[in-house]
Amino acid sequence: MTHELNARGPAAGSPKTATREAYGKALVELGRARPDVVVLDADLSKSTMTARFAREFPDRFYNVGIAEQNLMGTAAGLALGGLTPFASTFAVFAAGRAYDQVRQSIAYPGLNVKICATHAGITVGADGATHQAIEDIALMRVLPNMTVIVPADDVETEQAVKTAASHEGPVYIRLGRHPVPRVTPEGYEFEVGKATVLRQGDDVALVACGIGVSIALSAAEMLAARGIRAAVLNVSTIKPLDARTIVSAAERCGRVVTIEEHSTIGGLGGAVCELLSERRPVAVRRVGVPDVFGQSGPPDELLRFYGLTPENVVSAVEEMEGR
């Protein structure tokens, strides 16, 4: 399989890019190709990277000020007018502050708004808990009509953003502030609702999204040294979930560990447990933020503090040994 080429995981020292960077770049390209694309931001465009689009297309950019509720409602109205709005702010505000606006004015009426939320998860770092969304996947995926995408790296982000523009209906794309290694294989093509097997294995399935994918790949390498063959799945679409690929990996491996930069409640881990408990009950361990709020700190240190490390994934696998 061509995927074997990538089986070693992210090489140390390989260039890293924040997914928000890739978003900003993709948005400009979309703007050139698609006159119907408009962008809204709630005064964070330097951080969300929509500033590049704003510079090139000032007539199609709206900084609505620090007003996330109005951000979502205005985006909904632009969608009603036949445009394809991308609405950006930090994930904690997009999914949290404006939750009811997303629910009532975007998801329920099924409007073609693309919510691209950056600074998701604890790797926001220094700003601390108030700015670290650990629950946004959970909040967004319970909304009917909503598609939820968590790209793993810059390549996947760029493709997901462009795909979302052509995908009819509301989409939530979760992006990060912190640079992440490239994990997608050469020739990768993103598809909504399709998970990718990045590494084959029969002993345990590591099911991950976002920054969790590179952690899973590193963990798989460590497990291999111990004679445990781990499969690694990049589940970049949380909703609709790729049930076939996940169930089939669970069947083959009999054990699953989920890895995500999100609360262990309600995110990818929750979604996988819901699926497997009905379709293929197997032992599952969820690696993620363990039902606590974040705090200030350097991103890598926070990842270690909350157990989002390859070592912790290995421990989770070992914990299941002998079952």
């Binding site: 409602g73 009603l80 036949g82 004015s105």
Partner: protein, 283 residues
């Protein structure tokens, strides 16, 4: 004096009376609904759907059309009645079964023809209307957007976010209409939460303010024309209305905000509306 002919005015009054009648029958049939706020805005809806808005039920997606957002989504039955008067919904809407998909408790754009936006959670409609107005401006085909808000709804902070933004973007194809009936569920608006001075507030937010008797179709038409003549900023009609307008035992009574109507109450209400429609009780 309004530019409307006497005949036009009579026609609008008749439409308003029919909106009131249909609203009450729909609420009676469903055993639930919001009579007070449906009756208060009937004249405004009669003007908008009785000829003021550029809409066509035969071409509901027509480019350059005007748009309407019922921000106060609980007045849904009045909207359905108005859409039935305008030809978007059947004229005999009151004979539909009460659980018909057209008759959602709050408007749903997928279930009811003519409904442009699903609403119900108060405070969100003006933002959506602003987005629609921005889209219409980019489109350049002259479409205008009318948003009908309740005065109790002005308690919601998002309304003021949208108000600030609409003035900031100088959208002059957006008209907010406040159904200023002075009552909300728990009592007088000023007692629940003081939102006055409304005129000064909207002015300070950068809007062109037009105060009008919202139960006088001719005055509403004229106020809309006044709003249209102002460019470079959005307009708001502060439309003074009577909650429960047209039915004596509902007028000015907060308990009729949301309440089922009994058979005998409906009979009395329709008798009153009929006599008013024929000129018996009009001021």
């Amino acid at each position: 004096m309004t530019g409307l002919s006497a005949g036009d005015l009579e026609r609008l009054k008749t439409i308003a009376a029919r909106i009131r009648r249909k609203s009450l029958v729909l609420i009676f049939n469903r055993g639930s609904g919001h009579p007070g706020g449906s009756l208060s805005c009937a004249d405004i809806l009669a003007v908008l759907y009785g000829g003021y808005m550029y809409v066509d039920p035969a071409r509901p997606d027509m480019r350059g059309r005007d748009h309407f957002v019922l921000c106060k989504g609980h007045a849904s039955m009045a909207l359905y009645a108005a859409l039935s008067e305008a030809g978007f919904l059947p004229d005999d809407i009151t004979s539909l079964p009460p659980d018909h998909q057209y008759l959602q408790g709050h408007p749903d754009r997928w279930k009811t023809p003519g409904v442009e936006m699903s609403t119900g959670s108060l405070g969100q409609g003006l933002s959506v209307a602003l987005g629609m107005a921005l889209a219409a401006r980019l489109d350049g085909c002259g479409g205008r957007v009318f948003a009908l808000l309740g005065d109790g709804e002005l308690d919601e902070g998002q309304v003021w976010e949208a108000a600030m933004a609409a003035a900031n973007y100088r959208v002059d194809n957006l008209v907010a209409i406040v159904d200023r009936n002075g009552l909300q569920i728990m009592g007088r608006t000023g007692e629940v939460m003081e939102t006055e001075p409304l005129s000064a507030k909207w002015s300070a937010f950068g809007w062109n303010v037009v105060e009008v008797d919202g139960n006088d179709p001719g005055a509403v038409w004229e106020a809309l024309d006044l709003a249209r003549s102002v460019t470079g900023r959005p307009s708001v009609l502060l439309a003074k209305t009577v909650k429960g307008k047209g039915v004596s035992f509902m007028e000015g009574r907060p308990e009729w905000h949301a309440k089922a109507i009994s058979a005998s109450e409906l009979e009395r209400a329709l008798a009153e509306l009929e006599s008013r429609e024929k000129g018996g009780g009009c001021e």
